[in-house]
Symmetry: C2
Subunit: 478 residues, 2 copies
């Protein structure tokens, strides 16, 4: 691709930046977290009313200079490391759904650590998924092991980078300890930190929470790979306007970026958002609406202005089954994002506006991801690819099917899906009239019936079980 879609002119990008500066300088941000407030004040910000911090434009400009343009997700196996924007599009699972559609019974139920283990194993084998953001909560978590019950089954079975959140620093410390045991030592883990932490410290409009703010300060101070996401909700927590919501979210993003750079200049960072416009008829939250894709594309343009990789939650759906809506909502928003410059897509596996995980949806989204990757790679342009010689060789009325050029390009010219049907109706009927989710579940059954060679060694596992008594089993079971 040679040129992204752009919703704003260069002047308009600058105007959005200026409007965001005006918001930060005139309105400010509410910072109840004392450490965060101190950091802001120590670096040139001003406290007006109680905990209301005004951020002068020159402070924003100064600290925005300290960002770096790339972010790397590391895996247990470095072969799966992904850096944005270089490896863009990087496709990640949607995360933290409390519920799940049981892959065998179809029952809608609470998710468990065993589900996470199965999903983790699956992620290794799905070519469209680059990073495993832990898809669900674990309803069977023992007391005091909320995060461990998610990160352990994830890391035990998945060699690709793992992303997740922890509700507290104490949980985070357990997760890091887990990482060190798996890596073999603290130094080995720090050389290849395969957990990336994530949180949403700002509650729109313009207010810092406590726990996530604590987490982002701690991870930034300690060089733990992490980034925050901005989550405006137009009509409720941000203006009911695409442009107004962009301005506010951009101001919120700037304040968080500046905070992180004040703590650690050059800390790897992402311009990450989940911009949603509320459905004002009902108050429903529609993250699958096309406005989320449109807003991402505009945020991507702002990210290019700041020279930062961009992305976030995109391609979600409000559908509760793998129906056409689930397909077009995931496919359309991600495509607007891709062509607008989204590098990172937190998109795969969820139904019901982030509330429900579905195995079938995950395999379908992996195929959607492969289509996005093909779309990004686009055209190879050289004299051979113009095919003038082949066209001359074949001539009017001839066929390309028996030409060497065709044979040589058979595998690479187009994406060849495993799940999507291309059969004529009669063939499709003979094979059982299966819809795409049925075919997706067949693929999943095939993968999860194989031996799990990605699991960690028994020796390391014994060490984990000794360190964390009562920890969940963490094994993939099919």
């Amino acid at each position: 691709m040679k040129q992204f879609t752009e919703y704003l002119t260069n002047d308009e990008v600058i105007r959005v930046h200026e409007a965001s500066l005006e918001v930060l300088e005139d309105v400010g941000v509410k910072v109840r977290h004392e450490r965060a407030k101190e950091i802001f004040l120590k670096h040139g910000c001003i406290e007006k009313d109680d905990h209301l911090v005004k951020i002068p434009a020159k402070v924003v400009d100064e600290f925005m200079q300290m960002t770096i343009p790339t972010f790397t997700f590391r895996g247990r196996d470095p072969e799966f490391d992904k850096t944005i924007p270089q490896d863009s599009p990087v496709v990640i699972t949607g995360s933290s759904a409390p519920n799940l559609i049981d892959p065998k019974t179809g029952e809608h139920r609470r998710a468990t650590s065993e589900d996470i283990a199965n999903i983790a194993f699956l992620i290794n084998e799905l070519p469209g998924i680059d990073v495993f953001s832990i898809s669900t909560l674990a309803d069977d978590a023992p007391q005091g092991q909320f995060s461990l019950s998610r990160f352990y089954p994830a890391a035990k079975n998945c060699k690709k980078p793992i992303r997740g959140n922890t509700p507290s620093i104490s949980d985070l410390k357990m997760v890091l300890k887990l990482g060190e045991i798996i890596a073999g030592s603290k130094a080995a883990y720090e050389a290849q930190p395969f957990f990336t932490l994530h949180c949403c410290p700002i509650i729109s409009p313009l207010t810092y929470d406590f726990d996530s703010t604590e987490l982002i300060i701690y991870t930034t101070e300690n060089n733990i790979p992490s980034y925050p996401t901005i989550v405006p909700n137009g009509g409720m927590a941000s203006p009911l306007s695409l442009l107004g919501s962009l301005v506010q979210a951009n101001a919120e993003f700037l304040s968080l970026t500046v905070l992180r750079m004040m703590i650690k200049p050059g800390a790897p960072h992402i311009y990450a958002t989940l911009p949603v416009i509320s459905d004002m008829r009902s108050g429903d939250y529609p993250p699958g609406a096309i406005e989320t894709g449109i807003l991402h594309a505009a945020h991507n343009q702002m990210a290019r202005y700041y020279n930062l990789p961009a992305g976030g939650y995109i391609g979600l759906t409000g559908a509760h089954t793998c129906d056409a809506q689930s397909g077009y909502e995931t496919g359309m928003s991600t495509m607007v994002g891709l062509l607008g410059g989204t590098d990172m897509f937190n998109m795969a596996g969820l139904l019901g506006a982030l509330m429900e995980f579905d195995f079938g949806k995950l395999a379908i989204d992996s195929e959607i991801s492969e289509m996005l990757k093909k779309t990004k790679s686009g055209f190879r342009f050289d004299e051979d690819e113009l095919c003038i010689d082949v066209i001359k060789e074949v001539g009017p009325g001839g066929t390309f099917i028996d030409k060497m050029h065709t044979f040589e390009n058979m595998k690479d010219a187009a994406f060849l899906p495993k799940i999507a049907t291309r059969e004529m109706r009669d063939t499709w009927k003979e094979k059982g009239s299966k819809d795409v989710r049925t075919r997706a579940m067949e693929l999943i059954n095939e993968i999860l019936s194989l031996p799990n060679y990605s699991a960690i060694s028994q020796e390391v596992d014994r060490q984990i079980k000794q360190t964390f008594p009562g920890i969940v089993k963490g094994d993939s079971v099919w």
Copy 2:
């Protein structure tokens, strides 16, 4: 939107143009249709072997200067006229499916003229559909009334522009006569010609057929709104390469454009394509593959170089039911097209690679179309829309829900779908756990149960029945 996605640099666009010129000059086109060949030869082309016509670059360049940059689809009611690129995206139904999924029984059967009447009536009421390209064939057509049995139920019930094809000039003449009766006179019809004719005169690679070539010459000579579509099939009838297929299809497009301009300089024209890459594993024809979207975006760039509106068949699907595949295939390719500059989308209502019409798919695609239109319109950029004042008014931690600005933007800030669900799972379950096609069929049932005020008057209808004895009833029946 301020900038389209571009797959090619300006130099690469020119190189594709030059490569196409080389193909036309060195390889040429096979023209078995004598009139067409004479027209080419009369205007500077050279016959080499038997019926092989070489088109010199200077001839192409000369006649490409004679195109005009717009194309208008006219409706029975001029209120529904659409001009591309001004009114882009203009969304059209997919056409000429032989089969249909019965809207009441779900049975897969041959389509009839009564189905066409029902679809026509429906088109008036679906806000996402701009032009009715007659969706199906009519299996009940009386002998000698093949085209009349399609155009009559279409025009009788639909006030929006109608697009279709006729297999012969004699069929075309009957259709035009029908138009004149409905319009009230030949002059009235010619002032508002609400039928647009379509055909595919080139069989790739580089070969003119007889019937469609005959039709495009006749319609061009007689100022009958019409345009041709180029339909390369990579791996079979064009190179198995995105770029090579682009070059050949562009050459084919140039030859047809030049032919039309030789006949009638300034004849309204569209850069229309249906570029497909074959699935080389099976030979299956996958018009829903993402490569079709990618190729459209590149053809759109060529169209901008030639200053012509662009579009064609896009957003089709290989799925046989309204499953997730049907949603993501239609949604993703159309989105690549939209952001790449597609003005006209022949996309709505079909399943099974153009072979099956489904009422539910039509209503779903209307909603997809509305999402495309929202995506195109993007951001309104002015000082008010930046919402700095509202953000100041609300302040950190406040809410936008009770603000006048929110109230004023409630209807327009975001697209509000009728079919897609945004409900929480419990509400959705209470209402019957309906998937999107079920909800689409409910909407269709609602529309088709209303009185059909779009039907033509009984007096005009009597005249039609007198002129064409034995003609099908042509009424919408639900």
